[in-house]
């Protein structure tokens, strides 16, 4: 595949999956600066891995896997901030919303999810995004039964947190 075609296809892939990448970035970072940095690193990693993507799994499964792995293996580097690319300016600032009730709810939602460990965060995010259990199992590296058990436990933990806060 020539490079131009590869780039066009890749940009299309990013456009189709930008919501997913944004959600992962937001889930694993607690401020807008880090969200932008992580978003950019995910795009870089997807681009590096894209030529070797063998279509063995669904494209969204693969994007999830690369995005979540990048988030988990991501180390903050504050010295790099000047090199940040501006295309991530489109990332919405949730605090500027006019509906403050919704803001508070999002805030609670993220706070609740933030109490979970790195792997549990990935599992609940995939679950909330209606990803089938077998796909969650493939991305996370567990059996389908294990995923179901984990989800029930996470649900209980979240329920507990939300009712106490």
């Amino acid at each position: 595949m020539d490079n131009d075609k590869l780039q066009t296809d890749f940009i299309e892939l990013i456009e189709d999956n930008k919501k997913l990448i944004y959600k992962v970035s937001h889930m694993y970072c607690d401020n807008a600066v880090d969200v932008k940095d992580l978003f950019q690193d995910i795009i870089s990693n997807l681009w590096i891995a894209y030529p070797n993507f063998q279509q063995k799994s669904k494209i969204s499964t693969w994007v999830y896997r690369v995005s979540l792995n990048t988030a988990i293996t991501w180390f903050r580097d504050y010295s790099k901030q000047s090199k940040r690319i501006a295309y991530t300016n489109w990332i919405p600032d949730m605090t500027n919303e006019t509906d403050h009730t919704i803001d508070e709810l999002y805030d609670r939602l993220y706070k609740a999810i933030d109490t979970l460990g790195k792997v549990d965060k990935a599992i609940i995010m995939l679950f909330l995004d209606d990803t089938p259990y077998d796909e969650i199992a493939e991305i996370v590296g567990l059996t389908k039964t294990n995923v179901a058990t984990k989800i029930s436990r996470i649900k209980l933990r979240l329920k507990d947190f939300l009712s106490n806060n």
């Binding site: 690193d41 795009i43 870089s44 681009w47 896997r65 293996t73 991501w74 919405p92 567990l142 294990n146």
Partner: protein, 197 residues
């Protein structure tokens, strides 16, 4: 709030993200044309540089003493101690490099990635412990290598002792600061093992 409400809220959040602007293609292409400068790569190669630099620095710093006429029992013991210290630190750097080298974001499962990161962080945080153990050995080794070149008087002895004590205390203080994090990382690794049970 029930879990179903949480799901509804997540779906609302998802539909809100539908309104995101289109990404600027020109700027994405600009990013793709650049070499990614990721922290992970930097950390990986930092370990590799350390593997090269650690043995090189003492060789260069002590090059004046590498003479046949200097070789005696103290010199040999000094070389042996220095080698032990360097090998032990290099071993930690090598372990860090190998674990980071194995990180594969496009094929690893989330659990595998988490485990590798936790192990790496744990090695990294524990490095001070190895430094603490090897530092007195290195210090003694260097003194023995340069034994013939040093003029031992009260000033030089005080000076060396001060450097040794200050550095040692600094390492101990740093290690104590990291101890809580190290324990947390060990717990994280154990938790990850639980996932697969």
């Amino acid at each position: 709030m029930e879990i179903e409400e949480l799901k509804t809220m997540w779906q609302q959040y998802d539909s809100k993200l539908d309104k995101l602007e289109k990404l600027n293609k020109k700027l994405i292409l600009e990013t793709l044309s650049k070499k990614p400068q990721k922290k992970l790569n930097w950390m990986k190669y930092r370990s590799l540089y350390a593997l090269i630099i650690l043995p090189t620095v003492p060789i260069i710093a002590l090059h004046d003493y590498w003479k046949i006429e200097n070789i005696d029992f103290k010199f040999i013991i000094g070389c042996f101690l220095t080698l032990i210290a360097i090998v032990s630190v290099c071993y930690v750097e090598f372990k860090s490099f190998m674990i980071l080298k194995e990180v594969d974001v496009s094929n690893d499962s989330i659990i595998e990635s988490s485990r590798k990161v936790s192990i790496f962080k744990s090695i990294y945080a524990n490095r001070l412990k190895y430094d603490l153990m090897s530092y007195p050995i290195l210090f003694a080794g260097v003194i023995l290598i340069g034994w013939k070149g040093f003029s031992f008087n009260s000033n030089t002895i005080m000076y060396m002792l001060a450097i040794f004590i200050v550095t040692l205390f600094w390492c101990i203080k740093q290690y104590k600061r990291r101890k809580e994090k190290i324990d947390q990382l060990h717990k994280e690794i154990l938790d990850l093992n639980e996932y697969e049970k």
